[in-house]
């Protein structure tokens, strides 16, 4: 609800992050529930300083079509739970074997491998538990809620994030090619970012035409985000990033900078942000947050 000129993204992001953190804390059982191990492990990873990009995009998309954001918080938080589960499982020894995440030891380093697997499983399950809660989402039309649950499950499962992660792992040490790389990027990260934006639009009762425009926006920034992530992995500052840089190259991961070089990768992200902004050019200043987030995605340092 900000005029383009007065809009300060850092304030906006901080306020939204605060709102989402509070909601997550409210929805998630406290760590003294039984068995404490699982609630401690889940909370450890969920409150590890994430940017809350997916929930923020979901709420910003709602705002862009004039929707209220408060009723969407359960779905926004579920998106973050699914994202966090994927990080916990990706970090496991059998997967990327990462010791650090956001500057802290990864879940399996702190709680052991079994608890980390189960914490991921619990978060994924809880996301669907929360999204199907009529106590939390009683005012949302049931049909719309089912549609959003379906979209998000599709984006998280083998047609989305899991499929992308499988190809990512299989591509290690293999010769990079554009087709495989596109598959990894659009599925591993892109699908859930797109689903986040769509969820906000659908739940706000947006018109089909607007949902389509916002989906295009989501698709472009999703890809831009992943390429920017790959660039940060090459040249990012370890202390800002909170994890090791250069790890992709070490593992022989297929990345955009690896295939096209840093310069072309940067150009590509700028191009994608341009496409994202074009997709929503018909929206009024209520879409300013989405515009600012698109630019931020390629300019961020962590």
């Amino acid at each position: 609800m900000s005029a383009e000129k007065g809009f300060v993204l850092s304030d906006y992001l901080a306020a939204r992050k605060e709102m989402i953190d509070q909601a997550l804390d409210h929805y998630l059982p406290q760590a003294d529930n039984y068995p404490p191990l699982i609630f401690q492990a889940v909370r450890y990873s969920l409150f590890a300083g994430g940017k809350r990009l997916r929930p923020i995009l979901c709420l910003a998309a709602a705002e862009a079509v004039g929707g209220e954001i408060q009723p969407l918080l359960p779905v926004a938080c579920a998106l973050e739970m699914i994202h966090t589960y994927s990080l916990i499982h990706d970090d496991l020894p059998a997967m990327d074997n990462d010791d650090l995440r956001r500057g802290r030891p990864t879940s399996h380093k702190v709680f052991g491998e079994a608890a980390a697997i189960l914490a991921g499983d619990a978060l994924l399950t809880e996301a669907f538990h929360l999204m199907s809660s009529r106590d939390r989402l009683g005012q949302t039309p049931a049909e719309k809620l089912l549609q959003v649950i379906h979209n998000i499950a599709e984006a998280a499962g083998f047609w989305g994030m899991v499929g992308g992660q499988v190809v990512d792992i299989q591509s290690e040490e293999k010769k990079a090619n554009q087709e495989t790389l596109d598959y990894i990027h659009t599925h591993k990260t892109g699908a859930m970012i797109l689903a986040s934006v769509r969820a906000g639009a659908v739940l706000s009762g947006a018109r089909v035409k607007d949902i389509q425009a916002l989906s295009d926006y989501g698709r472009h920034i999703g890809l831009a985000f992943q390429i920017a992530d790959d660039i940060l992995n090459v040249e990012g500052n370890r202390s800002i990033l909170g994890k090791d840089t250069g790890s992709d190259a070490e593992r022989g991961k297929m990345t955009f900078p690896g295939l096209w070089g840093l310069e072309s990768s940067r150009e590509k992200t700028v191009e994608l942000v341009g496409l994202a902004l074009s997709a929503i050019q018909g929206f009024d200043d209520r879409a300013d947050a989405l515009r600012a987030i698109a630019r931020y995605i390629v300019e961020r340092k962590s």
Copy 2:
């Protein structure tokens, strides 16, 4: 729809298993989809000769209240997907480290640990994808579907199966006590069995009173099933069971026979089956399948 006298459980179970296997095959993408590894891994575990107890219970509960079973198949299959995901993750080296399941090498033995973790993740996600599909479940009232999704997610997550598995793992090599054992049994296995029965009743539009009676039935057979499973682990025939016997004792798992001995454990299962039958004594012969399944649960050899 069978008269009590003419009812042959083995025929009934075989026909239901066939129906569910066909539906699962129909709902699940073929193994030649991209990336093949994930679809191969998912199908390997899902078509490994499972008894389909949870889906069969879901359909039998629907039958008991006069509901149609065909429209419930997607939810029934989703229950089996969640069950299969839990087996794949339970077998992982960091968890129970099992090499055999239903007489075949476990998922991580065949496809590697990363693929096994992701196959479990994909199955869990696909269960919610399938249950929220209006293409598959268009005739089911959206509110009822949300309620069932919510119940199933609760039974699968930290208030159910995951919680039970955490306590199970933590209880290894610890002194057995009734309270912990009850928690493990009711959560690890019982919750999903209860949810399966409830789902069939709720989706069939059963009266609150009948849903309550069927829930009681589900609660009792869920516990009976787990105790019977523990007994089989002690004295079962490896070739019939398809997995190693005595593995619980070797791992120092907390089990009912471990705490109370085989004789008392057997008595307990008989008592529980009696309670389950009492709970549904007001139902007509359309509940005969549920009655026969309750008896079968404690008499089975695998």
